[in-house]
């Protein structure tokens, strides 16, 4: 940040203004689809879908009423929120507790165990073995099927581990001299320092959980247990060329009941909650890595 006292030269000014201009344009391009959908979701049925408006000429909340009156939106919301919170908490806990031992130099065969975890990043059983596993564990149609198979992501685990490895050993040593055991060290010393990295992966995991729908299609067949994204996807894809090509059901598809406005409203309703989470976690990203630990 340039203070008032420091004079900026002409070339710097040009650079800054170009930079700002570019950033504004960049923000506009990312915002545009969002604004477009928002205005579409607020447009009344008398507004043609093929025209573009920033603010629709006729505003109505009809689309939102329709979305909230549909059968499974409420249950979908609850399931999604539950799954996101539970999944994020458990994932963070397991990732953190797995990363810690793997980051300690004195842990026996550390390289082997790490390699074992990293191996899963590149090789997996694939769709069908996973399905068989979940089915035979009796997890079909339960929330556990969406949480347990994704408990630890090897990539996130590696990131946390590397972060922990960069911490100075003297931190742990000093606590040991004061008589703390391993658990105490983990909770009182390591955990506070790791807040930024934990916040980061927690956000990633939460967003992933919020948006994940494919596993739900695979493991959950009971409509009242389906996540919001599956319900949204069904609404949004209805009547599109893609579905038409797939089904050949022109006869039945003709009776499309979902207007574009309702589709847009559905997207809004499913996206806004996770967007709201961002600002609250924002501060952890910009925090310095070693704030409040070793000084000097």
């Amino acid at each position: 940040m340039a203070g008032n006292k420091i004079k900026t030269s002409f070339s710097e000014k040009i650079f800054d203004s170009t930079n700002t201009l570019f950033m504004i344009i960049f923000c506009m391009t990312t915002l545009y689809p969002f604004v477009y959908l928002l205005s579409m979701s607020l447009a009344s049925a008398n507004v043609p879908l093929t025209q573009l408006y920033l603010i629709p000429p006729e505003i109505s909340f009809e689309s939102y009423k329709r979305v909230f009156s549909s059968n499974y939106i409420a249950s979908g919301f609850l399931v999604t929120i539950y799954k996101t919170i539970l999944g994020t908490l458990l994932s963070v806990l397991f990732t953190f507790t797995l990363a810690y031992p793997l980051s300690r130099k004195y842990f026996p065969n550390r390289g082997f165990w790490t390699a074992l975890v990293v191996f899963t990043m590149f090789f997996s059983g694939g769709l069908i073995p996973n399905y068989l596993l979940v089915r035979n564990l009796g997890l079909m149609n339960s929330i556990n099927a969406l949480v347990l198979p994704n408990l630890v992501n090897a990539f996130y685990m590696t990131i946390v581990r590397n972060y922990m490895m960069s911490l100075p050993d003297s931190l742990e040593e000093s606590a040991k001299i004061d008589g703390a055991n391993d658990i105490r060290i983990l909770v009182s010393i390591i955990l506070p320092i790791c807040k930024p990295i934990i916040a980061t992966i927690a956000l990633w995991i939460a967003v992933w959980h919020w948006n994940e729908w494919f596993q739900c299609l695979l493991y959950i067949t009971d409509p009242s247990k389906q996540v919001l994204q599956v319900i949204m996807r069904r609404v949004v894809m209805e009547g599109t060329q893609q579905v038409m090509d797939l089904s050949g059901q022109s006869e039945v598809e003709a009776a499309a009941v979902t207007t574009e406005g309702v589709k847009a409203a559905t997207i809004m309703v499913t996206t806004i909650p996770i967007l709201i989470v961002y600002p609250f976690i924002q501060k952890y990203f910009v925090k310095g890595i070693m704030v409040g630990s070793l000084k000097g």
Binding site: W113, N136, T221, V243, A254
Partner: protein, 542 residues
């Protein structure tokens, strides 16, 4: 030493993990279906009065929304037939993917819906479909057989592989209507044409006027005659539908329309129009730019004056005929989806329907969608259980093709008086009651166990379609199901075909390229496909 021991231990742990997985897989593969059978047989052994066995039937249906396992209509039919129906809620737009995972995991649905006709062969070769003996079909699903034979003769044969029936053909009743030909009536008036084109010359004349004479009166040269979908009718005037796998009969043989020499003339004409700025230069990307599939944005936004997109009911003008509403009043019909959009964008626009223009040799036509939609087969495990196949066919016949229209409507709409009410029983017209209007309720309650059968459309909308002549001059493919070679080569052939047509129409390649394209096409598998198709055609032709 310590290190070595812990390494060995680690290895053992990992090995046991893998071993656990693999042994699991094999043991549970087939237990599901067998335990049920044993359980029900045990009941028979008790020596009680031999009650009818209560079958458990897994069911795959067309579902826009998942079915509630306790759905009202599901219960209704379960009680009626004394069965337990387990509807597999496979996501409609990921159907094959979801089904294939389960098949790979050893789960086969008892009523097996094959969504695309082309896939029947693959599933038969996988051994997941059971053969349906024709006597069984005739005995337990007589109505389906009768309706299909009556209104779509020969279509049931499409479900045969090597002479054995594996799939019951589901035939679409309204695809007897071809795609509509739509002109902008107000544009025609603006350029001084009052007759809807009948011949290709008249059509061409009108298209040039649309492109050159500023029909929208805005003083800018921004209009074109036609675009991608309008081209279908032009190819039709030369007797083919080249951009799809359409086959027509010539001299008792099935001929693929995309390589017919007549198509060269059509391409020549289209190329001329392209050069003259009559054919929209954006024809390659299509008329629809997203959203609902049937909307021709080019037409709705006043870029072109003629289109061939969508289905006839998308273009129904408001009040084209009258309907009876829930209160029994005569009301003008609502506008079709695309017409509605046109009215919102251009309230002053008027449209007029026409017949496909007649080509130089006196033929005319435009595409008619394949009437064969899907197949309904019986899963291989169901056939192993005594009497189960018969039961499934019986249920399917009852909900799909029962002669009583009240029964059929109940099977697709729910309980009369609760979910729907007749407005005109003679024409089979029912209205959904307000509480359920505009929802997917029928799928949720399980009123979707049926398959579509080709009852002759008799409702008011169909009457209007007959009046407008949508049933005339349609080109229907004589081959609506893929042969093995077709499946093998189709992707490659499609690429060659599209590339050739587009580059010739857009003038990137000279017209003389057509012969080269045909050679290339035939060499890439076209000849083999043709031979195989004709083998099938002569064997199965009625």
């Amino acid at each position: 030493m310590k290190k070595v021991i812990s390494l060995i231990l680690a290895m053992i742990m990992v090995m046991s993990l893998f071993a656990g997985c693999s042994s699991d897989d094999q043991s549970t593969e087939k237990t599901d279906s067998t335990t049920k059978v044993e359980g029900s047989e045990a009941k028979d052994k008790d020596g009680d009065v031999k009650e009818e066995k209560r079958y458990e039937i897994s069911w795959t249906a067309y579902q826009k929304a998942p079915t509630d396992p306790d759905g009202e209509m599901l219960k209704y039919f379960e009680d009626m037939f004394n069965v337990d129906i387990d509807v597999w809620n496979l996501e409609h737009n990921k159907y094959e993917e979801m089904l294939n995972v389960r098949l790979a995991a050893g789960e086969v649905p008892d009523l097996f819906r094959v969504r695309k006709p082309d896939q029947l062969l693959g599933y038969v070769n996988q051994g997941v479909l059971a053969e349906i003996p024709e006597d069984t079909l005739n005995q337990y699903a007589p109505n389906i057989v009768q309706v299909t034979e009556e209104n779509a003769p020969g279509f049931l044969d499409f479900g045969k592989v090597d002479g054995k029936l594996y799939g019951i053909a589901s035939v679409n009743p309204t695809n007897i209507f071809r795609l509509p030909i739509i002109y902008r009536k107000d544009w025609m008036e603006a350029v001084g044409v009052d007759k809807v084109p009948e011949t290709l010359e008249e059509f061409e004349d009108l298209m040039y006027k649309f492109a050159k004479e500023d029909p929208d009166g805005n003083g800018i040269n921004d209009t074109y005659g036609l675009s991608q979908d309008g081209m279908i009718a032009i190819f039709g005037a030369f007797g083919g539908v080249p951009h799809k796998d359409y086959w027509i009969e010539q001299d008792g043989k099935a001929v693929y329309t995309g390589t017919m020499p007549e198509m060269k003339e059509a391409v020549a004409l289209l190329n001329k129009w392209y050069e003259d700025g009559v054919l929209d230069p954006e024809f390659i990307t299509g008329e629809n730019t997203g959203g609902y599939w049937a909307i021709s944005h080019s037409f709705v936004n006043g870029r072109i004056g003629m289109t061939n997109k969508g289905n006839f009911y998308h273009w129904t003008p408001e009040g084209a005929f009258s309907m009876v509403d829930a209160e029994g009043n005569e009301v003008p019909t609502e506008a079709g989806a695309v017409y509605k959009e046109l009215m919102l964008v251009q309230p002053d626009a008027e449209i007029v329907f026409g017949q496909p223009p007649v080509g130089p040799t006196g033929i005319s036509g435009t595409r008619q969608y394949n009437r064969l939609m899907n197949f309904y087969g019986i899963g291989v495990y169901a056939a192993q259980e005594e009497g189960k196949m018969e039961k499934i066919l019986e249920i399917l016949d009852y909900v799909s093709a029962n002669p009583d229209i009240e029964v059929r409507t109940t099977a697709t709409k729910g309980i009369r008086g609760k979910h729907w009410e007749w407005v005109n029983k003679d024409k089979g017209e029912a209205v959904t009651l307000d509480e359920y209007k505009d929802t997917d309720y029928s799928y949720e309650i399980g009123a979707n166990l049926n398959m579509t059968v080709p009852f002759k459309p008799i409702n008011t909308q169909a009457e209007w379609a007959y009046e407008e002549g949508f049933h005339l001059n349609g080109i229907e493919s004589v081959i609506q199901v893929a042969t093995p070679k077709m499946n093998e080569y189709s992707a490659e052939l499609k690429k060659i075909r599209e590339e050739a047509y587009i580059s010739m129409i857009a003038g990137d390649k000279p017209l003389s390229y057509f012969e080269e394209f045909v050679e290339k096409y035939n060499a890439a598998g076209g000849t083999e496909v043709e031979e195989e198709v004709n083998e099938w055609y002569t064997a199965n032709k009625k």
